[in-house]
């Protein structure tokens, strides 16, 4: 056991300790605190990157036992590398962008300490190598990200935070049930590609366990029966919090589902069972409902939240058809949607903190006032809608083609249709904003036009993420190779 394995917990412990330390530190000037946070985030990203550069399946940490059978086990494979790098990168970007936004809020120090802690917990979540470790850090993530949601402790914020908490606790308990049902069958749940059980026609109790896990992790991913917390939590949370919530923390649910289905249960066990059908139906429902809601929604951040609901269900749909191509598409959509949605929320935050406008109809002509922001907004909207050759086009193409030759009776046709409809709706609810923003019409009076453009600290992350989203869409080959390897290993 060489020292590198212990280096594995460095990106976990560093932000957590830094955040806890931040609770007690006193900074003379705000800039000092921001420098501190920036340094922590950069070091975190660097260490995660170093870990990502290590060869596959070498880093393992299995020293810690919490109790009998409670084995905290860290193991790094390709999936965890991707998730951890994505998390660290987004954390850095949103962190930089949030400096300006949070300057308008109270007790930003408390916000940042929880922000850092959640970052550390998320990388632990990515590195966790068995289901129990994953569950432990999943709970920790819920409890530490709740203060982000209810940062300004108004009544609505607290209600939203409690709602978020209850949904997540209920989901986490479903996961724990599934875990114990597996235990009752005498299984040890260490992740291994392709599943450790992975037998055709298993006992029904284990199918039920897998279903419980899917729904439980689907809570974080905003899948239909348990999606209720998303639209409530996002509008009240500060913009950076909602950005990471819908950009990364929903993906934690996706990671959980991938782990429990493809690394514990095994696709062969689920393929063609009622579990798969229910899962597909639920995700399709969520896609459609989310886009409809977003289309009808008037508040900008709520609209973005509903769009998250539907977009994350794209990913779930791609996972649920159990087909390599669709799997690749789903993973790519994870990356793209995370980048896109963070950009969207950050720009929404810029609009809110600069002009204080939250409703969609107030945004008429906003493009003239903050052009760069709105250009980023428009570009990523185009990307999300999936206009060729942008990124989401690639992922959706893979999703659809995978679904088509997955051979699931009936659903393999309904799914793509719903995807296309929802793509149109996406265009409807995102591009209208950009159009109104740039072409306000004749009655808009250009006289009282003031420039509300935020400073570079807020623009730079937006631009970087937008550029990344676009570029990855145009040259997706490298990513695709990695994902194809993962898909080949699990399916």
């Amino acid at each position: 056991m060489d020292i590198n394995n212990y280096f594995l917990i460095f990106p976990v412990l560093l932000p957590i300790f830094a955040g806890v330390l931040l609770m007690f530190l006193k900074f003379g000037k705000r800039e000092h605190m921001q420098l501190y946070i920036l340094a922590i985030l950069i070091v975190d990203l660097a260490s995660v990157g170093w870990i990502a550069l290590q060869p596959e399946d070498t880093l393992t940490l299995s020293q810690f036992f919490i109790a009998e059978g409670l084995h905290v086990f860290f193991h790094v494979d390709m999936l965890s590398k991707i998730f951890s790098v994505l998390t660290a990168f987004v954390w850095l970007m949103v962190g930089i962008a949030s400096f300006e936004y949070m300057a308008h809020e109270k007790n930003e120090q408390r916000f940042y300490c929880f922000y850092l802690v959640v970052g550390g917990v998320l990388s632990a979540l990515a590195f966790s190598g068995n289901l129990l470790t994953m569950y432990v850090f999943y709970e920790l993530m819920t409890l530490t990200s709740m203060p982000l949601v209810m940062h300004n402790l108004s009544h609505e914020a607290i209600m939203a935070g409690l709602k978020y908490l209850f949904y997540s606790v209920a989901g986490a308990f479903m996961v724990l049930f599934g875990f114990f049902l597996f235990n009752a069958e005498g299984r040890v749940l260490y992740f291994s590609p392709g599943g450790i059980i992975n037998e055709a026609n298993p006992p029904g109790i284990m199918l039920f366990a897998v279903f419980l896990m899917i729904v439980g992790f689907g809570t974080k991913a905003g899948m239909f029966p348990m999606h209720g917390w998303l639209p409530t939590a996002h509008p009240v949370a500060p913009a950076p919090a909602s950005a990471v919530l819908s950009g990364v923390i929903t993906k934690a649910g996706v990671l959980g589902i991938i782990r429990s289905v493809y690394y514990v249960a095994g696709p062969d066990m689920i393929k063609g069972t009622w579990v798969q059908y229910t899962w597909i139906i639920l995700s399709i429902l969520t896609i459609f409902m989310g886009s409809m809601m977003a289309y009808k929604e008037k508040v900008l951040k709520k609209r973005l939240a509903y769009s998250t609901v539907s977009q994350v269900s794209y990913i779930l749909f791609g996972l649920s058809v159990m087909q390599p191509v669709a799997f690749v598409g789903a993973l790519m959509h994870v990356i793209f949607h995370s980048l896109v949605k963070n950009t969207l929320f950050v720009s929404a935050g810029a609009i809110i903190c600069k002009t204080g406008k939250t409703k969609v109809r107030q945004l008429v002509g906003i493009g003239k006032e903050m052009p760069v922001t709105m250009w980023c907004f428009t570009l990523v909207s185009l990307t999300l809608v999936g206009i060729p050759p942008t990124s989401a086009f690639v992922s959706k193409w893979y999703l659809i083609s995978g679904a088509l030759d997955s051979g699931v009776p009936g659903l393999s046709w309904i799914g793509p249709i719903v995807l296309l409809i929802s793509a149109l709706l996406t265009a409807g609810y995102l591009l209208t904003i950009s159009i109104k923003a740039f072409l306000p019409g004749e009655d808009y009076n250009y006289a009282k036009l003031v420039n509300h453009e935020p400073t570079w600290r807020m623009l730079m992350p937006m631009i970087v993420m937008t550029a990344l989203a676009v570029i990855l869409g145009i040259w997706p080959a490298g990513l695709m190779k990695i994902f194809a390897d993962i898909a080949a290993s699990v399916l």
Partner: protein, 497 residues
Amino acid sequence: MAFVQNFPFFCIILSMFSAIISFVMNGRIAKYIHVAMVTAVLILSLATLSFVAGTGESYTFMMGHFPAPWGNEIRIGELEALMAVFFSLIMMLSVFGGMAHIDREVQDSKKNLFYILLDLLMASLLALIYTNDLFTAYVFIEINTIAACGLIMIKKQGRTYVSALRYMIMSLVGSGLFLIGLTLLYSITGHLLMSPAKEALDQIIAVHSYQVPLMVIIILVTVGLGIKSGLYPFHTWIPDAYGYTTPSASAILSSLVSKGYIFLLIKIFYRVLGFDSIISSHMVNILFAFGVIGMIMGSVAAIKERNIRRMTAYSSVAQIGYIYMGLGLGTTAGVVAAVFHIISHGVMKSLLFLSISGLTEVSDGRSDYLSLRGAGLRNRIAGAAFTVGSLSMIGMPLLTGFISKYLFASAATTAGNKMITAWVVLAISTVLNTMYFMRTVLTLYRPVSAEVHKEYTLEKSKIERAAIIGLILLNIGLGVASQPVIKAIEAGLAMFG
């Protein structure tokens, strides 16, 4: 006979003697005597624990010159030693954590009596843990009851008198039932010491005689001790008793006194009646049912409650339901989980009660939600303590509550038809816990503008803060490294058999 083997006897006699000698001391010296006594008991029990764990087998200690069936005896195994360590530790931390409040709320002329009660409580708890003789157990149950009643009414207000009276009535009924069950047991076995009584009972069971008295004995003993430990249908005295006395007293009552009875019940199950006959008499199912109902109803009552101390008291009704649920599973794993929950609930609940006192004193003495707004911001350490305790109650990972919930759930996996029920109820009660504890924590951190509660005096008592921090660390430590404790519990239960 190694000298270490005398230590449990020294502990009991030491605590009794310190009580006797404190009768002529003034309050301050009595306090010092008590602190020294508890520290000594802790050290001696640690030595005993290490000794017993080293030899790996239990031993009996004659109280007098005469061997087992004739003279009194105490029996020391790993589980008993562990319990003694834990009880003395919690006693010490609770007394430290409420020291300033004791000085304020107890009259100066009665402080020494208060500490006498604490000493005798310690003595009776130790005797209940160690005893190998049923009638000794009865006598020390009475000491325990009276001392606990004294702790309840130490504040001398009408409220506390009434709660002390209700407590006395319930526990007198309990000890009456226990005593009559004891008498029946004596009349069919002819023994009062545990091991000979068990041998006699085995013969009786073998020849199938006295089946009805045996069943009635099981019922009477279980119900009696259940009443005294606040099992659900008999829980009505708990919120009053815990809710209105001085913080140290409520911490000790909720985390030690009732647990002593439960431990005695476990010991009687194993060492006298035999766990198999308990299972065959379906007593476990009854305990399971009552525990499950208690888990739900206690949490529901706690949700309805608006007074934070009473709410915490109701939550201990639910937690005692957990313990009986674990017993009722009827498997060794279930009993291990129950014993571990005895420990972890003691740690959590004493932390909660101590922190609540720190929170109410910065919200001009009121303990309803409206007045408690922002108390966590006014008294930071108490707020942090309450938060940690609540998270542990909810079962957040890396805290001790999670370990006990995990143990319960994994014990349920082997419990056959009770599995699903146990899990569902665990989940429901966890969500309910989340409701009321999180609600309270958020209320504590609700910002209020400065002109409310501008006149409060934050107690800067170093020793209380040290004790609270110690309890927090104990929570985290038990949550992170619970392996040795669980191992010790399993070994001790194996020694029981």
